[in-house]
Symmetry: C2
Subunit: 362 residues, 2 copies
C-alpha cells in the first residue's frame, strides 16, 4: 500500500461506536466522567475498532533506526556508531525499551531504515533507504523520493503487523542526531524559534547546545522548507526514522489500529502524519511528556495532551511501554465495571449521582 | 503499635542503599537520568527497603470508609447512604477500584472506620469509631481521642499487612462529604482560601459549590483549628477516613513499606501524616493529579509531584492501581537492564555518553 493509497483509506472514528462507548461509560457505577482519560481512551479505541468492549492483548513497539548526516556538525554528545550499537542491543533484550516492553507484554519490531553502515543484524529488518541522511546544514537531508520511501517503509511494517493480528502499536526510534532533525521539522511546521524547541538531547553542554541551535537555524536557512508541504519539510530537514514513524501513524489510521506516541521525535513524526492527513489525530494515543522542550509544542500543534509526567528523555519507544498498562486499565473499566442497571450490585445511588453530576470533562 | 510508638520508629531512607541504587542507575546503558521518575522511584524504593534490585509483587489497596456529619449542610450531590452502598459494592468486585486493582494484581482491604449505620458486611473489616463524625459547621467533627483512634486504626491495618508480606500499599477512601473535610483540613494547614481549594466533588452545581465553600468557612470559623497542631485539625474539621489513611502513611514509614497516594483526600491525609512526622514524605509515592483543585496545593505543601495526568476524580484508590504497573516498570529497569560493564551487550558508547550527560534531573 503506497502513501496515497494509505491516505485515501483514512476515515473518521466510527460515530455509532463512539456513541455506544460513551453511553456505556455513563452507565457504569461512578460519577459521570470521573475516570477522566481512562474513559476518553476507551471511547476513542471504540471509535477506532468499532467495538465497545474489548482488550488489546497483542502489543508491539516498532523501532525505526537511522543515522543523520547533521551529526557532522557536532550536534550530539554521542558518536553516530551508537545508532548501530543500540540497534543491535535491542535484539539482545536488555536496553530500556526491551525491559519495559517485556514488562508490558509487548514485543519489538526493529527496522534499520538508514543506519550509516553496511552491517546487518539478526532480528533487525533490513529496510535501509540510504546509509544515513545527508548533512542538512549544507543541503536537503534526502530526496523527495527517499522521503516517500521512508514513510512507505513504516506503512509496510504496520501492514505486516495488522496481518499478524496486532491490536495496538507503539512507536520508537534510535538515531543519534534525531533531536536536531525533529527540532528543525517542528520549527518548520510551527514557526517557533530555536530556543523554545531545541533541547539538550542525550546530554549537551551549554556551548554544544548553542552550536546545535545555530546548526539547525543554518539548515533551515539553507533549505527553506515550505511550511505547507510536509514532504518538503521531511526531505529537507528530516530523517528516515521520523518518516518511518509517520508512516506507522498513517497506516494505523488507515488500518484502524491505535498507535501510541512516545516522546519528542515520535511527537514530531505524529505531527508530520497529521499534516499529511488531519484525520490521523484521532488514532494517536499520547503517552508521556518528554523532558525535551519541543515535545509540548508538538502536542499543542496537534491538540493532544500526554497522560504521563515522568521526566523521561530516552526515546526507543520507552514511553509507549509505560502507556500500555494504562490502556489495558481503560479497556478493563469499560469491560468489567458494573452498570447501574445490573442486579448483582447495590445500585441505590444511581438516581442521586447521575442527574446532578458535572458535564463530561468538567 | 500506638501513634507515638509508630512515630518513634520512623527513620530516614537508608543512605547506603540510596547510594548503591543511584550507582546502579548510572551504570545502566542509557544517558544519565534519562529514565527520569522511573529512576527516582527505583532509588527511593531502595532507600525504603534497603534492597537495590527487587520486585514489589504483593500489592494491596486499603480503603477506609466513613461518613461525615457535615453532609447535613448539603455539601454533596450524593446522599450519605452511598458510603455504605459503595463499601458493600467493593466486596462484589465490580466498582472502579475493584476492576483496576485486579488489573494491577493488587487486592483490597476494606475497613469501615465510621459508616453512619449499624450494618456489617462480609469482607469489610469492622473498625467503626463512631457512626459518622459530627457536623463540623457546629463544632468539632470528633474528639481528640477519636482522632488518635482513627490514625491508630490505619496503623493496625498496615501492621497486619506487613505480617502478611505485603510489599507496597495504596490508599483509598469512600466517604460522602470527604472532599469538604479534606478541603477544610488543607485550608487549615496552608491558610489557602476556599476558592483555591474547594472543588465540586462528585458533581455539584454552581449554587451548591458556593454553599459548600460557605459551609467549610463556617466550620473553620466555629472551630478555629490550630494550624500547628495536626491532631487538632483532624479532630475539629477532619474525618475518620482521613485519619485512617494518615495512619497508613505513618505506619508505612515506620515499617518501611512504600505507600502510594491516590487523589485529593489521600493527599490531604498524606499531608496530615507529614505534619505529624516530616520523615513520612520520603515513603510516599504520588500517583495521579486529581481533577480536584486542592490536590496540587496539597502536593506542593509536601514538595511532591504526581506521575499521572488522567483528569480522574473518583477516589476509592483508583489512582494507586494505575501507579502500580509504573512502579513495576521502575523495579524492572533497575533489575533487568544491562550495565555498561556487562559483556553480553555492545557497550562501545559508554565512554561517550556518560561524561557529557546533563546532571541528574536536568
Amino acid at each position: 500500500m503506497n502513501l496515497q493509497e494509505t491516505v485515501n483509506l483514512i476515515r473518521p472514528l466510527d460515530p455509532a461506536a463512539l456513541a455506544a462507548a460513551l453511553a456505556r461509560q455513563d452507565s457504569l457505577i461512578k460519577p459521570l466522567g470521573s475516570l477522566g482519560k481512562l474513559e476518553d481512551l476507551a471511547i476513542r479505541i471504540a471509535g477506532i475498532t468499532g467495538n465497545v468492549r474489548q482488550r488489546l492483548p497483542r502489543k508491539c513497539i516498532v523501532i525505526l533506526c537511522a543515522d543523520n548526516g547533521i551529526c557532522e556538525e557536532g550536534v550530539s554528545a554521542c558518536p553516530i556508531s551508537v545508532t548501530r550499537t543500540q540497534t543491535d542491543n535491542f535484539t539482545l533484550g536488555r536496553t530500556g525499551v526491551c525491559v519495559l516492553s517485556r514488562q508490558a507484554g509487548a514485543f519489538l519490531r526493529i527496522a534499520d531504515v538508514g543506519i550509516a553502515d553496511d552491517r546487518s543484524c539478526p532480528g533487525v529488518l533490513d529496510r535501509k533507504i540510504a546509509k544515513g541522511t545527508r548533512n542538512m546544514s549544507k543541503g536537503p537531508a534526502m530526496s523527495r523520493e527517499e522521503a516517500v520511501r521512508s514513510i512507505e517503509t513504516g506503512i509496510e511494517i504496520v501492514e505486516q503487523l495488522k496481518k499478524e493480528g496486532i491490536d495496538v502499536i507503539g512507536t520508537g526510534e534510535m538515531g543519534i542526531g534525531n533531536t536536531s532533525t525533529a527540532s528543525a521539522m517542528l520549527m518548520s511546521f510551527t514557526g517557533l524559534p530555536a530556543d523554545l524547541v531545541v533541547g539538550r538531547g542525550a546530554g549537551l553542554t551549554d556551548a554544544a547546545w548553542h552550536n546545535k541551535m545555530h546548526v539547525i537555524e543554518r539548515a533551515l536557512a539553507v533549505n527553506r522548507p515550505n511550511p505547507d508541504d510536509p514532504l518538503d519539510i521531511l526531505s529537507k530537514v528530516g530523517g528516515f526514522d521520523i518518516g518511518g514513524m509517520a508512516g506507522c501513524f498513517l497506516a494505523g489510521a488507515a488500518l484502524r489500529i491505535p498507535v501510541v506516541v512516545d516522546g519528542f521525535i515520535s511527537a514530531v513524526a505524529a505531527l508530520l502524519a497529521c499534516r499529511i492527513h488531519p484525520g490521523v489525530k484521532e488514532f494517536l494515543i499520547p503517552s508521556h511528556a518528554s523532558a525535551e522542550p519541543g515535545y509540548l509544542h508538538a502536542m499543542k500543534a496537534m491538540g493532544l495532551s500526554p497522560s504521563l509526567q515522568m521526566n523521561m528523555r530516552l526515546g526507543e519507544g520507552t514511553g509507549c511501554a509505560l502507556m500500555f498498562p494504562i490502556l489495558d486499565m481503560a479497556m478493563a473499566v469499560a469491560d468489567e465495571m458494573a452498570t447501574f442497571e445490573e442486579g448483582d450490585i447495590v445500585n441505590d445511588f444511581m438516581v442521586d449521582i447521575r442527574p446532578t453530576a458535572d458535564d463530561r470533562g468538567a
